[in-house]
Symmetry: C2
Subunit: 349 residues, 2 copies
């Protein structure tokens, strides 16, 4: 039982002793837990870079490793399920450093009583996604917990890929004057999950954008070496991703509200639910920071790819308010885009 | 609610539609789920080898990958905790193919309301185990699920290691006449967990044998190229491991009851609880199948290592009853050591 004092306590203080849903949100609480617990104990030059993947030397190769656990609820949603998400989520984390994803591990924590048919559907979907992404699942593990000690099915995938020599993308590489490129509309995944979870019916069905992005990345890298950094704005949405880049690069980022594509039905759902699409998760989008003179060529290459048709330049990197993300609104005013404090949508991935 | 018909139904039929705790036991149900669901969908030449790790080519290197999720209950037990277990468990799966473990990913699924102190203890223990094993945690992930949808803390580690050229250990390589070597006493981990979980008090405290085995493996490989296969008998115990080897190699394995070391207090606890130590999990032991002419030298090398002091030859490989494991008892009779059918001790790792 929580006491009234605890309930009235502001988030950062309550969170000092207990894990909250917000610690898994990808926002401020996640970041604080990462710094105070994980990096304090496990920090090393590779982990402490805080990229979405680690790059380690093995022989003469640069091997990218990325891990993600998936606890999305519900397991199945328009546009995907926990199986396709587990493949694409890890493939995308590898792709963001320019790695060619090759191999995946797949681990499952099943709740006693899960229907076998549900498991089969998830594994089948994982197979299809792996085929599309051209990665092989090479090792796995299954654990079962008692009824009431899990929630149907959790999954973990860890991926391996190879990074070309000389390629060095990092959230710490953004420079003043760089352009911010977004590969398409935001908010689709989060709203699709929420609609499914809450049984909301919108005029048109909103589908998750869940997709593997390494094909798009290949096209981008083929036309330009002016890409400083790429990130996929998943948990915490576009705002968290831009914040991470601003902080790690020691720059400010300014985005233009009118340039950010948001599908009409997602916009409508966000208005109805009081959500800001900047904080809603995506699973098939990327943000790239690119040298200004290369941005147009990168954009053209993206638009020729099926997953980048709606790509656009949404902002630029500045050096005047280090660590801050600001947005010029449609009304012409400027507002600070703060990092997600608590938890907007738990169990989105 | 289960109907009486379901409750009276024998295991294999009940298990057709629903996931049971036994599907995570490492015994027959695990094996059947692996074949019917995972291999049917995801099978490929690497995964279908059914080793505890995959070996994939990256550049000129042979890279071993292994993944494990950890759901052990309780989180802390004599001799270890979920943090040290998550490091050592994955390190050992890599070590069993002779790989030098190098890098780990670490992912957590936390239940809302978990005390931060508990998380810190686990992560600290993970750090200590990683230091002892000389592996680096290079990437990670944290998710949080609602209260009642998890059980405090689940962890996943995925490990990478490098395998020397020409080394080819496999559960399919046992040959008639080979010796079966066990690195020490069995049952310690499982009984330590059970005693802690049930609040049992034995005369002497029983500690988990949780330890990283790659140092021991290095010594074994240094003295001999006659090792066909190594496995760590975790879930499902020694019996399941020997079964896997017998089936995959198409041989029979005969072990001698009197040669198998079981600590007196573990033996006593097993008798009290009606458990067979052959089915109880270990987390710091290995079984090696070795060419007969090399077995003594391997054994001597093992006994010089702190984790192999109690090593002994416990049996031999035969060709007369393919796929079967038999045991000559202390009374001189022979009995079939069947594979674990259901679930003896859930959530042991």
């Amino acid at each position: 039982m929580r006491t009234m004092a605890e309930l009235n306590c502001p988030l950062p203080i309550r969170s000092k002793n207990t894990i909250l849903l917000g610690h898994g949100s990808g926002g401020r609480l996640s970041s604080e837990l990462l710094q105070d617990v994980f990096l304090r104990e496990l920090g090393n030059p590779i982990l402490s870079k805080l990229e979405d993947q680690a790059i380690v030397p093995i022989g003469s190769q640069r091997v990218a490793i990325s891990t993600d656990s998936f606890v999305v609820k519900p397991l199945f949603f328009p546009g995907g399920d926990i199986g396709s998400l587990a493949v694409n989520g890890t493939v995308n984390d590898l792709a963001m450093c320019g790695a060619t994803p090759l191999y995946l591990s797949a681990a499952f924590i099943l709740e006693e009583g899960l229907s076998r048919e549900t498991l089969c559907r998830v594994v089948h979907s994982m197979r299809e996604a792996a085929e599309v992404a051209r990665v092989q699942v090479v090792t796995g593990d299954t654990k079962v917990v008692e009824r009431g000690k899990g929630d149907q099915l959790f999954s973990n995938t860890t991926g391996l890929g190879v990074v070309a020599q000389g390629l060095d993308l990092s959230a710490a590489h953004a420079r003043c004057g760089d352009k911010v490129i977004l590969s398409g509309s935001i908010g689709d995944h989060g709203i699709a999950i929420l609609a499914q979870r809450e049984g909301l019916e919108f005029e048109s069905a909103i589908s998750s954008d869940c997709a593997a992005l390494h094909g798009l990345v290949t096209e981008m890298l083929r036309v330009s070496r002016g890409i400083r950094c790429m990130r996929d704005p998943t948990r915490g949405g576009l705002s968290s991703t831009l914040h991470e880049i601003a902080v790690q690069s020691g720059v400010a980022i300014e985005i233009e509200e009118r340039e950010i594509p948001v599908h009409e039905d997602v916009k409508g759902a966000c208005e109805l639910l009081g959500l800001d699409p900047l904080y809603v998760a995506n699973e098939g989008k990327l943000v790239a920071i690119a040298a200004p003179e290369e941005a147009d060529e990168i954009l053209s290459a993206m638009r020729r790819h099926p997953l980048g048709r709606e790509a656009c330049i949404i902002g630029r990197v500045r050096d005047d308010r280090v660590g801050l993300v600001t947005m010029r609104t449609r009304l012409g005013t400027s507002r600070i885009v703060d990092i997600l404090a608590g938890d907007q949508l738990p169990r989105i991935c």
